[in-house]
């Protein structure tokens, strides 16, 4: 460096003495040095003042301050808001909260890690590794953050822990509200369940107001209406002792409970359906065609939402998640099945409306329908002979509808079906509804790149082939007929009431489809559907009810073989009753149930009976409900 400098032309200038004006020299030599001396003194005095003060605080008062800092354990604790209660239409509780005792460890209060963990492990019979794992999972949080070790401990366990608290520093028990479903598995798919928020969910924007350990609605209405049900957690500032026990509350902000919900579900009807579905697999939905209010909804097999609410164990979760019968699937909105003969209602409506057939049109049925190089069979081996539209619906003649389907073509079926809401979400207030599928020639071209074959139309006309619909879509078909061209969005929740009793939200009926069609069309189809149940030759004659007329249509849909095994046909029944002035529309699906007439129709019969014959007071309630 130096060497280079020496060779530099600017060397002299660079190492020259500081230069300045004469005036400045005076300044630098006389006035300013005085100021710098002052500055030095100020720095020295500052240092002395700070040191003395620190000596006083840290050395003279140090012991006392250290003691205070150790005693000084004021914590901010969350006070969980109780979740909103769900009631049925008549005010019976379907989901509420109960107090529960939860076991926590606050890492900071632990004196001897092994003593506390081993002690708790042997006392409660919890695996040591499990406790350590839970503590590790919360290692990103301040050590004063209590980590939940076990949810919902029993009274016996509570007594054990309380008796041994002295030996378990850091262990504490919190009383917190816990979700409770008094009817267990019943309505599990409708009500849904709550569960602890996952670390993935915590990262999502939608959950940014949540913190670890919070319970959130993960399924069904609990999830759909999470923001209404949740409430606002409160907070309290508490002083805790060296054991982590609360000594006193210094300040408290009460939680605001969640909002209550009144459902359209009628618990009595729901129970009837639940009973009818005992031992069966499938789904059923019943709604008021004139409002879309869902009166009952059942999906089987079901699960017990209470298990989730109290911190589901690994074994329980795996049992549910790995069950081949898929208990977590809500068949009514997520099960896609070929609609079978119930679809003939749609075919009839469109063909009549377009004038392709009328009451006089007849087709001969010899038990089969040769088309292309194969024969499409009718379910009745001997054939129905000459049938018209009325008999074709009543006796569910396949050959008649093969002919009608060919006249219609798949695209007309598709566009009409879509316009009344098939093959798309109905908009029911439950999450994850599937769309199903209503095929068209365009769809096939797009999906498979090959044109549509007429032979496929023949299958579609009777609800087989590429038609995949959900029970909730078919209840809309039934409601469409019952209402003569109008359907409403299926709605499970009726109203949301704030904790102060004020109505926050009232769900008014929302029109889903409103299609102008000839009166005559509905008359013919309705007579046919009434005949299905009430004429001796009808496919559901066995499910007729005394005094009340029910109308319906059976369906027996071929199922896709599962792992090469044919498990049998799916049984369908869609219905509405009373036929004269429909108050309820029903759709029943029994998975692998066999014939619609024997497996599905009795469920609809039980619903109609319970509503209109067995308990007149319910019937009254229903009528009142409609006039609102």
């Amino acid at each position: 460096m130096r060497k280079k400098k020496n060779n530099h032309p600017d060397h002299d200038m660079f190492f020259a003495e500081p230069r300045g004006t004469e005036y400045e020299k005076v300044l630098k030599e006389k006035a300013l040095p005085d100021k710098y001396r002052w500055c030095k003194w100020i720095l020295v005095v500052t240092m002395i003042v700070l040191s003395i003060r620190l000596w006083h605080l840290q050395i003279m008062q140090g012991n006392e301050m250290r003691l205070q800092s150790e005693m000084n354990r004021i914590r901010i604790k969350k006070v969980l808001a109780p979740r909103g209660i769900m009631f049925d239409k008549t005010g019976k509780v379907l989901a509420d909260t109960r107090p529960s005792f939860n076991l926590y460890i606050t890492p900071e209060d632990i004196k001897d890690f092994n003593e506390t963990v081993d002690g708790l492990s042997s006392l409660m019979g919890i695996d040591r590794e499990e406790i350590i794992e839970k503590l590790k999972a919360a290692s990103n949080f301040p050590s004063s953050f209590p980590v939940k070790i076990k949810d919902d401990i029993s009274m016996d366990e509570l007594a054990k822990v309380e008796a041994n608290r002295v030996y378990l520093p850091g262990v504490s028990i919190q009383i917190e509200p816990k979700r409770n479903y008094p009817y267990g598995k019943m309505m599990a798919h409708t009500l849904g369940y709550v569960s602890e928020i996952s670390s993935e969910e915590l990262k999502q924007k939608e959950y940014r107001t949540y913190s670890p350990g919070d319970y959130i609605g993960k399924y069904g209405l609990e999830r759909m209406y999470e923001s209404y049900l949740r409430g606002v957690d409160g907070e309290k500032r508490v002083e805790v002792d060296a054991m982590g026990r609360e000594v006193r509350t210094l300040e408290k902000k009460d939680p605001i409970p969640g909002n209550n919900m009144y459902l359209n579900i009628n618990l009595d009807v729901q129970m009837v359906v639940e009973k009818a579905f005992e031992g069966k697999r499938g789904g059923c939905i019943a709604l008021e065609p004139k409002t879309g209010a869902v009166v009952a909804l059942v999906s089987r097999p079901a699960f017990d939402p209470n298990k989730f609410a109290s911190g589901i164990t690994k074994q329980d979760w795996q049992a549910i998640a790995l069950d081949k019968a898929h208990p977590l699937q809500n068949r009514v909105i997520q099960g896609r099945y070929p609609p079978g003969s119930t679809f003939k209602i749609l075919t009839s409506l469109k063909a009549l409306e377009d004038g392709l057939i009328n009451t006089g049109t007849g087709f001969g049925c010899k038990g089969g329908f040769p088309f292309g190089n194969r024969v499409f069979k009718c379910w009745k081996k001997g054939g129905h002979g000459m049938v018209n539209i009325h008999r074709a619906i009543v006796e569910s003649c396949d050959v008649f509808f093969y002919n009608v389907g060919l006249k219609l073509g798949v695209d007309r079926i598709h566009s009409f079906g879509t316009s009344i809401g098939l093959g798309k979400q109905t908009g029911i207030d439950l999450p994850n509804e599937v769309r199903g599928l209503l095929p068209s020639s365009e769809w096939k071209k797009k999906t498979y790149g090959v044109p549509w074959y007429e032979g496929e139309t023949v299958s579609v006309a009777i609800g087989q082939g590429a038609v995949w619909l959900t029970p909730v879509q078919l209840v809309q078909l039934s409601a469409f007929v019952a209402n003569e061209g109008v359907t409403f969005k299926p709605q499970i929740v009726d109203k949301i009431i704030g904790p102060d009793g004020k109505t926050l939200k009232k769900f008014e009926p929302v029109v889903a489809a409103d299609i102008k069609m000839k009166k005559e069309v509905f008359k013919i189809v309705k007579e046919g559907m009434q005949g299905v149940v009430n004429e001796p030759s009808g496919t559901a004659y066995g499910s007729r009810i005394q005094n009340v007329h029910m109308s319906g249509k059976t369906g027996t849909a071929q199922s896709t073989p599962v792992q090469g095994r044919d498990l049998g046909d799916h049984a369908w029944f869609i219905a509405y009753s009373p036929s004269e002035d429909p108050a309820i529309a029903i759709s029943v699906l029994v998975e692998y149930g066999g014939h619609g007439s024997s497996a599905a129709a009795p469920v609809a019969k039980a619903i109609s009976e319970s509503l209109f014959t067995v308990k007149p007071e319910i019937k009254e309630a229903m009528v009142r409900g409609q006039s609102r």
């Binding site: 400045e24 500052t46 003042v49 140090g62 301050m65």
Partner: protein, 369 residues
């Protein structure tokens, strides 16, 4: 690319740089501990602080390339820019903690009042240095004219309300006119005004919460769960550190989260709790040697302009350091003044680094024309 003159690099004040880096390193380590108890962890805070540091380093590199005289000649430009920014904050700035101190540009938040401090020093130096003033000592007229320049940002900043920065700006003004020297008559006038002004301020300027802090300062135990409660907790944190401290990351007071702003204005309590008396003394010495070095640069500056700037910048660091620590150990009322190099806050850190850049600039041009 800016061409770096190796001769100037040779004249960089490495003492100041190393001393500053030591302070910043302590600051980062301490910030890790102070923010470790936050839900989001330290990560975000550290990243943001390091980004601010890098920006500051780039600014230093730019600043040293211009002669400080050129920079001082443009002081009025900087003055009006920062004045504009403060007015923007008052108009649209987003509310933070009940105060409007921040302005957000492209998603980055600035606290313009932080940058006013070095700008005021540049401005005062450019207005008052020997080539500009008529006589060697300042007369009352000089003081009043200069004060007019200072009072505008002072009022705007106090209105935000950011009393801490306002106080610093006011004290810098006092320090600089003292440094240059005043006539005896001016001294006398200022002293008499100085006794009347606090009374006016108490009645017309201070907000209720600011008065509350002063009351609390005077009588700590009267309000154990309110403002005094936090001061008390800060004292307990410092005191419980004892001689050798509780050890790094072992502090408990701030983790219980009842010292507010323990990563910004009260960050010294975190350090004192974990490093004790022993660490604190070293910490103080590092600050005081740094400030002393600033004074040395002032003394060695080529001209009086450089002397005034260096003195002013050193004063900022000194005032912020002493007031902040005094308030942490309950020898001064609580005002929002960050601890240079140590407190979390990008604007504050960048402002300090700009000062460092100017100091290096003055130092390396001390032998030049």
């Amino acid at each position: 690319m800016v061409k770096v003159d190796k001769r100037k690099l040779y004249h960089l004040d490495w003492y100041l740089i190393i001393n500053g880096c030591a302070l910043f390193a302590i600051g980062i380590l301490n910030l890790v501990s102070a923010t470790s108890s936050f839900y989001s962890g330290s990560f975000n805070f550290i990243i943001k602080q390091l980004i601010a540091f890098s920006v500051g380093i780039v600014l230093i590199a730019i600043i040293v390339n211009f002669d400080y005289r050129t920079i001082a000649n443009n002081a009025k430009l900087f003055y009006f820019i920062s004045l504009g920014a403060i007015i923007l904050v008052l108009a649209w700035g987003m509310a933070a903690g009940g105060a409007r101190r921040w302005i957000s540009i492209f998603g980055i938040s600035f606290q313009p009042s932080e940058f006013v401090k070095p700008v005021i020093v540049l401005l005062l130096a450019s207005l008052l240095h020997e080539k500009k003033r008529e006589k060697m000592l300042l007369g009352l007229k000089d003081i009043v004219i200069t004060f007019a320049w200072v009072i505008v940002p002072f009022i705007l900043i106090v209105l935000q309300p950011d009393l801490g920065t306002g106080i610093i700006i006011f004290l810098i003004f006092i320090a600089i006119i003292w440094f240059i020297g005043m006539k005896k008559s001016a001294y006398a006038t200022l002293l008499s005004v100085g006794t009347v002004l606090p009374i006016i301020a108490w009645h017309y300027v201070l907000r209720p919460y600011q008065k509350q802090r002063i009351y609390t300062f005077l009588n700590i135990d009267s309000d154990p769960l309110g403002v005094g409660y936090h001061t008390k907790q800060a004292m307990i944190a410092v005191g419980s550190g004892q001689f050798f401290g509780k050890g790094y990351l072992q502090g408990t007071q701030h983790k219980l989260q009842f010292i507010p702003e323990h990563h910004t204005d009260f960050i010294y309590t975190v350090f004192a709790e974990e490093w004790g008396f022993f660490g604190s003394i070293i910490f103080f010495l590092l600050f005081l040697t740094f400030i002393n070095r600033c004074m040395k640069i002032s003394q060695q500056a080529y001209d009086e302009l450089g002397s005034i700037i260096a003195f002013g910048l050193g004063s900022i660091i000194f005032l912020q350091f002493s007031i902040n620590v005094l308030m942490n150990i309950h020898l001064a009322p609580v005002v929002g003044i960050p601890l240079p190099f140590i407190s979390y806050g990008g604007s504050s850190l960048i402002s300090v680094l700009i000062s460092v850049g100017l100091l290096l600039n003055i130092n390396m041009r001390r032998y030049m024309f």
